[in-house]
Symmetry: C2
Subunit: 516 residues, 2 copies
């Protein structure tokens, strides 16, 4: 078999069965191998940022990496923002990046660039395969690195693809299990939980299951502590029957206020909380200086085990967790608002849905109303780079074809990677998209007041830079142009009706919610 | 003034008057400064790849840099592919990339990344400003570096923006003139041109003017040499009245065939020709081993001067250049083909138009028919990264509001940066876009046969990866969704009529040419 075939076989031998691809000439042998090696689904994306965001969404839902197939340095560049998000969210990801043939690189052809240089800032592991005989082994190494919630980027020179690999493919590799937390650390946490200090336990990491949330609630109740997630947890079980689990506010001032009551923080899969951005006169570190911080578990530690052990250690097995009761909000009426959208979504949400949240300034009512809605899982944007929501929704739908995916999407962010709609139509993915169309970069209006001209209003040029309503973007036409059926709602009643229709249908749909 | 104001003033003091922007929170002081410092036009883009491609198109037409304003590492990542193209085309470009406040960087907030690491592979000069007192001086340095056809990327930490700069702005900086070519080199070239060897003079660089082409033709006729441009010259004068100036073929095999007749190459602003990609069994270096290569001028040398000196040195002042006579092709008829599109465009092209060519597999008839059409300038994609055409057309239109811009655009490539349409509508840019919609990645079908499975046909998965017609993209609806008026043509007659209408109008228009 040639290098590409041995690479592909190694991937499928390791259960990697989906490739989000935007190939070019240097990847043609990899593409040819797709028809020779069984077991790899190739999902074509019209832009590499869709491929990387979809790989992120897919891996969050399956716990195993997808691979991306990208074309040289510029293709990797196009994918970079969503690889960044994946890296910050501890998503397992394998990027296969085509490179010129080994002997061609030095000639500085138009598409030549320092691909490793581009890959390094957004990858935990970077390697350029140097010979067909090595590529399967290199792929196995990439798989090993990605498994623990890491981004592995493997450059595949064209001749490494097309030359014969006498060593063939690699079998399934031994994946290191998550490191166990030492008993000493658990004991240490117990001491802290009993020291009488006012305590907040914060949890993050790749996945907060409903069981994890309940265990955390039991532990907290037993010890008189409070609990919270970080501001943007990668994947968290939510809704009726899950534990009451607030999240740290986004606003630095609000987060500082939130944390000021605590004398100690115990951290599970999260770093000590810091402000999203720096602001003049506002501290960047959110906990006060006297607050004692203890990191109990890292993001790729075995959270199930940590919580089970801690629960026993504090004697919380029989504690009743604090649970969100099912309580559906009243519907809104009249002019459509973000609150009315969230009310409808909360009332109509089917069981076990996947909610992909890139609603930004419209997200607050979602957080509020969905907490007591049907049980669901919410994916949040972990790295702050917008244009993640639609691709991630596509990837989640590829991962979980039996579950409804609901993408709650800000308008400006949607425009970064709107090519996702085409992939949703092509693959008939069961995604219902709600665009919160407020016709502006509302978050920048908001941030401008906090940073740019404190207390002042933006001048005409600044105001223009936040106004994406000139011209208005017609998301119904945009969706239709890529084969996705869409409707527009300007009232709460119309939205609610369109939402029910959309949820009842199967396959991609979009509702453009014109938000006042 | 604060750092941002001193930066902006330094830019405008140096004639940099357009900023293609997609800002975020860390850039709010720069945005605020736009209303305080006069003279900077801020063109909002919905995606950073539009900003960088527009800056490329703008700088090619004005000869001076625009600046981009990008948000942190991911924003730079989104802009990377078109910065790559600019770098390969020797376009002067200044990227201002927001960075977290200096004291915030080490906290590893969600949006923190190694921005210098991302910038380095696509920039000639990279610098992170460390204090407000330095930013104006750093900007002056960026301007100096960019001036010679280089990419300068300057990171602007938020506190460098908002702190007071006691040093104020910098005045206009002294830009080094292009290096003169030594007389010895000219003399050397003359000796070679008279040595009786069969000679090809190849020209590239930032700009091939009509005068340069005619001088080159005079020199070649005087010396019995042939002339050609590289395959993708950044900006070249074309059409009736310009010199007959073939270009090196794209296909490696064809280029090797083209070059095999020559015993020596004299290179003006181009590197020794290499294959765009490597192919099994095909040499990557296109000239044969016995071919003698002489680099007379580098891309940023003063080409006017080099050609003037060489013309005198070989005594070609009175030579008649070989000129393209005006000759318009017959119109096509019936089913629409790329050839029929090119025939119409050639017949209807207004004088002095700017033709932005990202037509890829549809480009050959354009090359053929436009050579004898009205005088125009053609911009080509210099770095091979697709998604350049629409942004570059937007930038060229900002640079030259009095000239018609015609964007000849492949469908697949258009989908990388179609947000350009919105900026065209917003700024009412006089761009007529022709989408060659053949509903496939035709270039990959073609390349697959050459690389992937020689002689073989793609299997179903590979074929699917080249098929972007499932679903069909409706470019008329897509354009309409972003405020650009559009029509669709399926016959040569309809296309010709729509083309005339589009050329007569002012402001952005799109014609979707359904190509058989």
């Amino acid at each position: 078999m040639n290098g590409a075939e041995s690479l592909l076989t190694t991937l499928t031998n390791n259960g990697i069965s989906v490739c989000f691809a935007n190939p070019g000439t240097s990847e043609m042998h990899f593409v040819a191998a797709l028809d020779k090696v069984p077991g790899m689904r190739c999902v074509l994306c019209l832009f590499e940022g869709v491929a990387s965001g979809a790989a992120d969404g897919y891996a969050r839902m399956t716990g195993k990496p997808a691979c991306t197939l990208l074309h040289l340095g510029p293709g990797l560049g196009n994918a970079l923002a969503n690889i960044h998000n994946a890296k910050k969210g501890y998503t397992p990801m394998i990027n296969i990046v085509g490179e010129h043939a080994t002997y061609h690189v030095a000639l500085d052809a138009p598409l030549a660039s320092d691909i490793e240089g581009i890959a390094t800032p957004v990858s935990h592991w970077v390697h350029t395969s140097s010979a067909a005989a090595d590529i399967a082994r290199d792929a196995a190494e990439a798989i090993r690195h990605a498994a623990g919630g890491r981004v592995a980027t493997l450059m595949l020179p064209a001749d490494v693809s097309w030359n014969d690999n006498p060593n063939g493919a690699e079998p399934a590799v031994a994946i290191a299990r998550p490191r166990p937390i030492s008993g000493g650390k658990i004991a240490d946490a117990v001491v802290r939980l009993r020291n009488g200090k006012r305590t907040l336990i914060m949890i993050g990491g790749q996945l907060i299951t409903a069981d994890n949330g309940r265990d955390l609630s039991r532990i907290a109740r037993r010890c008189g502590a409070d609990i919270a997630t970080d501001t943007f947890p990668a994947r968290v079980a939510r809704g009726a029957g899950t534990a009451v689990l607030p999240k740290l506010p986004y606003l630095a001032e609000a987060a500082i206020d939130y944390l000021q009551h605590y004398q100690q923080l115990i951290l599970l899969g999260v770093s000590p909380p810091v402000a999203f951005f720096a602001y003049p006169g506002v501290p960047s570190t959110l906990a006060h200086e006297q607050c004692d911080t203890f990191v109990l578990a890292d993001p790729d530690d075995d959270m199930d085990r940590v919580l089970a052990d801690l629960k026993v250690a504090v004697g919380a097995e029989d504690e009743e967790p604090e649970i969100c009761a099912r309580q559906l909000p009243e519907l809104g009426s009249g002019q459509l608002t973000a609150d009315a959208v969230a009310r409808s979504v909360a009332r109509r949400l089917p069981d076990n849905a996947i909610v992909v949240d890139e609603a930004l300034t419209c997200a607050l009512p979602i957080e509020l109303h969905l907490a007591t809605a049907a049980r669901h899982e919410r994916l949040s944007q972990t790295g702050g780079s917008i244009g993640w929501g639609l691709p991630a929704a596509a990837g989640a739908a590829v991962a979980c074809p039996e579950r409804k995916v609901l993408a709650l999407q800000a308008d400006g962010s949607a425009m970064y990677t709107q090519q996702s709609l085409w992939t949703m139509a092509r693959e008939n993915l069961d995604v219902l998209i709600v665009i919160f169309n407020n016709r502006r970069y509302a978050i920048l209006e908001f941030e401008f007041a906090r940073t740019g001209a404190p207390g002042g209003k933006p001048g005409p040029k600044a105001a223009s830079a936040f106004d994406i309503g000139n011209p208005d973007i017609d998301f119904v036409a945009l969706a239709g142009s890529m084969g996705v059926q869409a409707t527009r709602a300007t009232t709460a009643e119309a939205f609610d009706e369109q939402l029910q229709t959309g949820l009842a249908a199967c396959g991609p749909r979009l509702i453009e919610a014109i938000i006042q």
